[in-house]
Symmetry: C2
Subunit: 73 residues, 2 copies
Amino acid sequence: MDIRRRVGLNLKKHRKAAGLSQEGLALECGLHRTYVSGVERGVRNPTVLVLEQLAAPLGIPTWRLLEEVDGAG
Amino acid sequence: MDIRRRVGLNLKKHRKAAGLSQEGLALECGLHRTYVSGVERGVRNPTVLVLEQLAAPLGIPTWRLLEEVDGAG
DNA sequence: AGTTGATCTACAGACTATGAGTCTCTTTTT
DNA sequence: AAAAAGAGACTCATAGTCTGTAGATCAACT
């Protein structure tokens, strides 16, 4: 699986777990709503700095966004 | 610690463990010699696609490059 | 000891490709 | 209807490439 897709799925999972909307998360981490959307859909190729920004408000270590994903998330 | 620095230290550690020079690793993963050097020094902000490229020839999962680093590494 | 050649790494400048970040509008979900 | 998410296009900063210089290390030779 494309690693961008993997990051997207992980981000979505953790965002939902945190009870946030894309816009809510975007506000928390200082990114644009549509940019967060792009990352979740796997069409963006974020840098490590952005990964860190995304992970921080979710309360997870950055590397968790790169974790392996299995079948039905 | 800056996450770019952390990525750099992790990359260097794993590259050494694999017995590769910066140039050797660069050739293996299709990146430029000077770019690999920059990542290791923490002055570059690599994307997830590049992290994957770097991790592959080292035989480690991509997320390991983002792992926490403790004091005396 | 000094020199030559090979290897590894840090660093700088300039360039091209692409990511960051935003806007607008459409579609889906509730 | 309203909230949430998807999608296309855009500007500007930077990711990533390339060329070259320089310091440090090591081994073989004189």
